[in-house]
Every structure is written in C-alpha cells, then in structure tokens.
C-alpha cells in the first residue's frame, strides 16, 4: 500500500495529540518543555510531508523556521527555569500561583 499525504498528516496529528496530552497532564515544568518540543516536531512532520507531496519548498522553509524558534525557546525557557529553581527549589506548576487574582 502506497504511503500518501494523509498517512503523514494523521501521524503528525497523533503526535500532536500526544504532545497536547503531555502539556495538559504534566505538572513538572521540565516535562512541560519536553511536551512542547513534541508539539513542534509533530507539526514539522506535517510541513515536510505537504512540501513533498505538493512539490513545493515552502513547507520545508516553515519547518526550518520552526526549528529555529524551538531552539531559541529552549534557550530562554531553560534560563528562566533555572532562575525559578534557584529561588524556590521547586519547578512544580501547581506551586506557581502568582497569576491568581
């Protein structure tokens, strides 16, 4: 059976769902970052697949920029995470209630 675009898109969606589940269920900030990486990667698969099956390079370009954004996100996010950890010795989401009105 020939692998088509929809196979890739469905795979991408399933991985995105796993990422969503991670984002919602994990309370540890580091795990949350991992789940975010999964989300970004799943989208990248979709971009690359569409690019291939349409014969258009735009998809790859987008995947490329997504990777760049993921890299900067990790850099800044980890920096903030370290500062937070140094202050509170915890990186549990439920402890971060400073947004509470």
């Amino acid at each position: 059976m020939e692998i088509g675009l929809s196979h890739y898109l469905i795979l991408s969606t399933i991985l995105f769902g796993i990422g969503l589940y991670g984002v919602m269920s994990r309370k540890n900030l580091l795990m949350l970052f991992f789940a975010t990486e999964i989300l970004l990667n799943s989208v990248n698969i979709g971009f690359a697949a569409i690019s291939h099956y349409l014969g258009d390079l735009t998809g790859q370009m987008f995947a490329f920029f997504v990777i760049a954004i993921a890299a900067s996100e990790v850099a800044v996010g980890l920096g903030l995470l370290v500062v937070w950890f140094k202050r509170h010795n915890r990186i549990d989401l439920d402890e971060m209630m400073s947004m509470r009105g």
Partner: protein, 186 residues
C-alpha cells in the same frame, strides 16, 4: 515497499518514544525517549526527500536542544522521581483524542487538498540542499536574518538568566534577603 515499511516502522517507534516521554515519571527516561524520538523523526524527513531538514533536525534538536536540556537538568535533582499530582487523566486524554479526531476529519475533508497551488515548485535534477539554499537566500532572506537575530537574542537571554550569580546558591536564602541583595547591587 521499502518506503511503506520504513514509514510504519518509524511511525510506531516515534509514537512509542514520545508516549514514554510524556508519561514517564523519571526525568532521565523522558529525556532519553525524547532524544530517540527526535532522531527517528529525521528518518521521515529523509524519506520525504528533505535531506537538509533531516540533517538540521539531528544537529539542532538531538544535538543542541537536547544537550541544552541535559545541561539544564544538571541544576535539578534528576535522580529524584518527579512527583506530580494526578489530575483527571480521563478528561485530559479525551480532550486530546477529540482534538486529534477533529483535525484528522478536517484533513480528510476534500475542500483542503483541492485548492493548493505550489508557490516554489521543486526543480527536478537539483539536490535538495541546493534548492533549499536558493529559496532561503532569495525569497526568505529577511525572515532568515530575523531568525538569526532572534537566536542571538535568545542566546544572550539564556546566558544572562542562567548565569546570574552562579556562585551564590539562591535556594538557601529567603525571598526577602534576595530582594534586598538585588536592591543593593542595582
């Protein structure tokens, strides 16, 4: 045939690795699973004739990003099990599944695929890397430069945030003490 086998193999492996990454309670397991998932994803890129993207994936994700995570984890006690309150897993799982099904349904709808026209078509006979280079440095030059600046800013931000007072353990002090010190310093 080869492509089909490769797709299903990679698909199963990636899904399993990522699933482990989001469910395990050990941070090291999660990191390892994530790294393997990232490398396996690059396999898809190679199948899809996007060799350049596949290389970037391995270098940036598996190399840089995960190395960064690994270094970041040295600050935290990684041997300790991650204690998490169990939320209502059923609601969370069903929400994710529901969104997945919806997205799939929308992708399956015939309206999407009919109306797409290629902006920058793939030229036959030239390597993928060369094509990417041509498009990136002509059509996407400005976004490319902006991305470069963004990475620079992120790098500086990461250094400033994480490297501030590396010699002092902030955890041994109260919030008020830290605030006072910061006031004195500034």
């Amino acid at each position: 045939m080869f492509e089909t086998v490769a797709f299903y193999l990679f698909a199963v492996l990636v899904t399993v690795s990522f699933f482990i990454a989001v469910t395990t309670s050990q941070a090291l397991y999660a990191l390892t699973a994530l790294a393997s998932g990232m490398i396996l994803i690059s396999g898809f890129f190679f199948i899809l004739d996007a060799e350049f993207l596949g290389a970037i994936q391995i270098i940036v994700y598996s190399g840089a990003v995960l190395a960064l995570y690994a270094f970041g984890m040295m600050f935290f006690d990684t041997t300790r099990e991650v204690k998490e309150k169990k939320g209502n897993r059923i609601i969370i799982a069903s929400l994710s599944v529901l969104s997945v099904i919806l997205v799939v349904l929308i992708f399956a709808a015939p309206v999407v695929s009919d109306n797409i026209v290629a902006n920058y078509p793939v030229v036959e006979g030239i390597g993928n890397t060369e094509q990417v280079g041509i498009v990136l440095f002509t059509k996407y030059l400005v976004p490319f430069e902006v991305a470069a600046v963004m990475l620079l800013v992120a790098m500086i931000a990461g250094i400033v945030l994480a490297g501030k007072k590396m010699d002092v353990s902030l955890t041994l002090k109260d919030d008020s003490e830290i605030n006072n010190e910061e006031k004195v310093l500034s």
